[in-house]
Symmetry: C2
Subunit: 311 residues, 2 copies
C-alpha cells in the first residue's frame, strides 16, 4: 500500500502561484505596451519604464483581476484598471526610494530610479507614472466600461493614493524625521500608519476589482474586511522579513527599519508576538472571505502566503 | 470743453483685472475649503496648503471659468474643475522648486515648501496635490456634470499633466543636466519644450472650460489655437521678465535661466527679437479669438497683458 501524499494543498499552491504569475505577465505586457506607446521625452519614458518594469510580484493588479473574476468573466478595461493600480504603486516606490525619503539604492536587486538615472528624473518619472494611471482610467482603453463606474474607479484610486501618501508622511513622522512632532510609538499608531501606507492601495485594488465585477454591497464589505487584514498581514510579514533576511536575499537594504528606531510590529510585539498577530490577521482575513457566497481560493492562498514570506 | 479721456480701454483693463481677481478669490475659497476638509496627516495637509494657498494669480483656473462663461451661465462643478487645474499647477511648482530640480528657495516672495518644511514633505505634498486634483474631478463635488463629460475632463487634465512633466524633463535636458544627451538649443526646440512645459496645462484649462461650457468643435479649435499662443506669450514674457526684473520685484531668484545656459527666447532671439515674437503670438492669439462667434474680452485682455508683465 502506498502512503498517500498530501497532494491537494501542494498542487493548489502551485496552481495559485501560477495564477499570480499569469496575472503579472498579463499586466506586465499591458504596462510595457502602454509605456512604449507614450509620445513623451524619451528619458522620462525610460525612467518610468525602469520604475515599473524591473520586476515585482504585481500583487495589487492580481487582486484587481482575481477579485473581478469572483463575479464573472473578465470585463473589457479590467487589465487597464489593474495596470493603473500598479502604476500608482510604482510611482510611490520611485518617490519613497529618493534620498530625501527612504534613501534606497536598491529595489528588487536593481538600482533604484534615482541611482540608474538621477534625482530629478526619478521625481519626474514618479509624477509621470502617477498621471499616467489616471490617463489610463479616463482614456479610451477603458471606454467599454460604464462611465459612472469608471468615475467610481478613478475616485477609489485617487482616494487610495491620497491615503497612501498620508501614511508615508505619518511613517516618516514616526521615524522622528520632523523633530518637533514625533508621535509615541503605540501599536495602534503603527496599525494606523500601515493601514494608510500599505493598506489603502491594497483595499483600492480589491474594491476596484469588486466594482468592475459588479459585486453587491455585502460582498464589497466582506472583501473590504479581507483587504484590510491582507494589508496588515503584508506589513507584519514585511517587518518579520526585515529582521530575518540578509540584504542579498531580500534584494534591498534590510534591518533599516529597526535601525531607524521606527515602530514596527516586531519592535512593539517582539518576533513571536508579531508572528501571532500575523496569524490572527490571516485567520480574520479568511473569515471575511467565508462571508462571500462562493470560495475565493486565490485570495485565501494569497493571505496565507504572508506566512510563507518569512524565510 | 473738456478733453475726452481715453476712458474705455483703461476701464476695461480695470474691469478685466477685477474679473481675474474675482475668479482667483472664488478658486482660493474652494481650495481652502477642500484642503481644510481633508482627513489626512496634518503635516501633509499643512505642506499642501503652503504649496497652494500662498498667492498666485490663478490664471489657469480663471481660464477654466472664463472659457466656460463664453458659452453660458456657470455649471455646477465648474469651480471644482478650475480648482483641479490649480492643484496640478501647484503640485508642479512644489516639485520644480526641489533642490534636485530648479532648487528655488523663494516662490511669490515666500519660502518654497521644501524650505518651509523639508524635502520629503515637499515631495509628498506635491504628490498629494496631484492625487487630490483627480479625486476632486472624480468625486462627489462635480457629480452634477454628465459622467462622460467628467471622464473627458479627467482625461484632458491627465494628458496635460503628462505633457507638462515631459516638458519639464526636456527643459532639464536642454540645461545640460544629463551630460550625455544635451540637445542643440534651437528656437524650434525651445518652442517645443515650452509648448509642453507651460502650454499643455494652459491648453487643458481652456479646453476643460470649453467642454464644460458645451463649446462646439470649431469653437474648441479656435480656443485651442488661442491657448497655444497664450502659452508661448506667457513663456516669452517670463523670459523677458527674467532678464529685466530684480529678485525683489519678481519675488523669486532671477537671471537664473540665463545663468544656467538654458535656451530661452531671449538668449536665442535677443531682447528685441523676443519682444517682436511676443507681439506676434499676441496678434495670432487675438486672431484665433476673432474666429469665435462672440467677443472674448477677458481672453483678449489676458494675452495682451503678457506685454504688460515686462517691467
Amino acid at each position: 500500500m502506498k502512503v498517500p501524499l498530501p497532494a491537494a494543498p501542494a498542487a493548489d499552491a502551485i496552481l495559485m502561484a501560477e495564477r499570480l504569475k499569469r496575472a503579472a505577465g498579463c499586466v506586465d505586457d499591458a504596462l510595457d505596451a502602454l509605456l512604449s506607446g507614450l509620445s513623451l521625452e524619451p528619458r522620462l519614458v525610460a525612467a518610468m519604464k525602469h520604475g515599473t518594469l524591473a520586476g515585482g510580484k504585481r500583487v495589487r493588479p492580481a487582486l484587481v483581476l482575481e477579485t473581478a473574476a469572483l463575479f464573472g468573466p473578465p470585463a473589457s478595461g479590467l487589465v487597464e484598471a489593474a495596470a493603473a493600480l500598479e502604476l500608482i504603486h510604482a510611482f510611490s516606490l520611485v518617490h519613497d526610494d529618493l534620498p530625501a525619503m527612504d534613501d534606497d539604492a536598491l529595489r528588487r536587486g536593481q538600482p533604484t530610479v534615482h541611482i540608474a538615472y538621477d534625482e530629478a528624473s526619478a521625481i519626474l518619472a514618479g509624477d509621470g507614472l502617477h498621471a499616467l494611471a489616471f490617463a489610463l482610467l479616463s482614456g479610451g482603453q477603458t471606454a467599454e466600461l460604464d462611465p459612472a463606474l469608471r468615475l467610481d474607479l478613478i475616485d477609489a484610486l485617487a482616494r487610495g493614493t491620497l491615503s497612501m501618501i498620508s501614511g508615508q508622511m505619518r511613517d516618516l513622522a514616526a521615524e522622528g524625521r520632523f523633530a518637533t512632532e514625533r508621535p509615541a510609538l503605540t501599536l495602534e499608531g503603527v496599525v494606523g500608519i500601515q493601514s494608510e501606507k500599505t493598506g489603502a492601495l491594497i483595499a483600492a485594488a480589491v474594491d476596484i476589482g469588486a466594482r468592475i465585477g459588479g459585486a453587491g454591497q455585502d460582498e464589497r464589505r466582506a472583501l473590504g474586511d479581507y483587504a484590510a487584514r491582507l494589508g496588515l498581514a503584508f506589513q507584519i510579514s514585511d517587518d518579520l522579513l526585515d529582521i530575518a533576511a540578509t540584504a542579498e536575499e531580500a534584494g534591498k537594504a534590510t534591518g533599516k527599519d529597526a535601525g531607524a528606531g521606527k515602530g514596527t510590529f516586531v519592535s512593539l510585539l517582539g518576533e513571536d508576538g508579531a508572528t501571532a498577530r500575523l496569524e490572527e490577521e490571516i485567520a480574520a482575513g479568511l473569515a471575511a472571505l467565508a462571508r462571500l457566497p462562493a470560495p475565493a481560493p486565490f485570495h485565501a492562498w494569497l493571505i496565507g502566503e504572508m506566512k510563507g514570506r518569512r524565510r
